[in-house]
Assembly symmetry: C2
Homo-oligomer: 274 residues x 2
């Protein structure tokens, strides 16, 4: 018996009184799959279990892993050889009195499969600074919750020639893209905003930081400013996202950046399938 | 033809790819009904239309009003004489590329009826300060969006003997309860946090401020501190919510406040039915 109620997206949606619909009371994972395996799959599942706990939603990794296996059987063939996207939406379930959750509610898990999105090539992407500020509540920092209105508003700025926008917090520090974390190369060091400041702490970000440290490279977690990115010491800016990989930025706000494709080679998504 | 796709909650939920479920990409209204009429109904519909526009979701007041009429026929008898709650959930619809919405998407409207919640009596309620800070993005200030994770976390602090908690922003200013706006009586003036600082700008708040000003009473919109509430000049603290009415606070964080029930008499929900 699983400890959640399971909904397959190809059979219908969540119930009308689901708290994910009502309040965004839940979280999600978007996992790049190939065959029966997923890119950084255990990190995705561990993040969902850990962040669900922070929100008071109980789910076990084992139950999630079983659903992923079922999902590969259900969706794997449909999307063919090149891979596909598995999306897990975990909500607190139905019920409660208004915002107030009841203790011991049965969570809902909505499972969907979709084709891979178009992938950027290695020559680097064009990005801009977003006009939408990011307000990160410390209690929700890093959690991939269903409260993503800010990312939606910022993503409305994107277009065919604008791959991503970078959002800043109230103090003007650059935090992340709508769907990717940031990594800056500066003075021979790697710099990235600290996890406590992030709206979403990506699993690829954590993997890359660990890998760089294993290789003995200097990694600094500190606030990143516009001047860091546009200044003469910037040796490159990268977007990180476990579906897209490590994507170098070629131009930001009309300003050309050095493009180093070397970093992309340390992460080959297909080598992290598990 | 309505400009949205209509879903009755008693027939099922929203589709699995609805953006309200995925990102909280939408907004809602909770309206106290009696017979075929609603408390401050036009203000509720006007707020939904206006805030939807701020989010880039197009809906007309006329279409919403028609749905409300249908809803009274559908739910009105079921919940009897004492009244009931009409909930409208308006989402951007299905589709888009990840966070990025497509232009011209067809919104979804989910319509639900439920019984009235228990009402507090006039003797005043017990509240506390919440441990959950409120992070209000200026672009979303006042909007009753579906991104309500902060209110859910704060509401988890409520219990049988704790009616509401008051949330403060990052600077420590008191902003609002999980489901009610604040009004303070101090030195013969009415004081309330400014609309630009609010997570949700309630329709009753606006109605009360207008009514007080019409009566020539001094009304000040400025940040409210803990000292304002606990200090010797506090002549009373009130919660405002169009379902519950104007509710005096008897005790906050163990500190007794003067209870003035006079204000409650200026708002009789049943006299604002329309």
């Amino acid at each position: 018996m699983t400890a959640f109620r399971l909904f397959w997206a190809d059979e219908g949606g969540l119930p009308a009184d689901d708290r994910g619909v009502a309040y965004g009371d839940g979280l999600f994972e978007t996992i790049r799959m190939a065959g029966q395996k997923g890119v950084l799959l255990s990190r995705h599942l561990e993040r969902m279990v850990r962040d669900a706990q922070r929100l008071g939603i109980n789910v076990t990794r084992k139950d999630l892993a079983n659903v992923c296996l079922e999902a590969t059987q259900r969706f794997g063939e449909r999307f063919g050889e090149e891979g596909w996207i598995l999306k897990l939406v975990l909500t607190r379930g139905s019920g409660g009195r208004g915002y107030r959750p009841d203790p011991g509610m049965e969570p809902h898990l909505l499972v969907a499969g979709s084709p891979l999105p178009p992938m950027p090539d290695n020559s680097g992407v064009v990005v801009d600074f977003s006009k939408v500020p990011l307000s990160v509540n410390p209690l929700l920092a890093g959690i991939k919750s269903l409260n993503r209105m800010e990312q939606v508003l910022a993503a409305a700025e994107l277009g065919p020639s604008l791959f991503e926008v970078v959002m800043a917090d109230r103090d003007g520090n650059l935090v992340e893209g709508t769907r990717a974390n940031l990594l800056l190369r500066q003075g021979g060091s790697w710099v990235t905003p600290p996890a406590s400041s992030l709206a979403v702490a990506g699993v690829l970000r954590q993997w890359v930081l660990e890998r760089l440290r294993q290789r003995g490279e200097p990694v600094v977690e500190r606030p990143v400013t516009v001047e860091d990115v546009l200044g003469p010491d910037c040796q490159g800016l990268f977007l990180m996202n476990s579906v897209l990989g490590i994507v170098p930025v070629r131009t930001i706000a009309g300003h050309d950046l050095p493009v180093d494709t070397g970093l992309a080679t340390i992460f080959n998504p297909l080598e992290t399938l598990e």
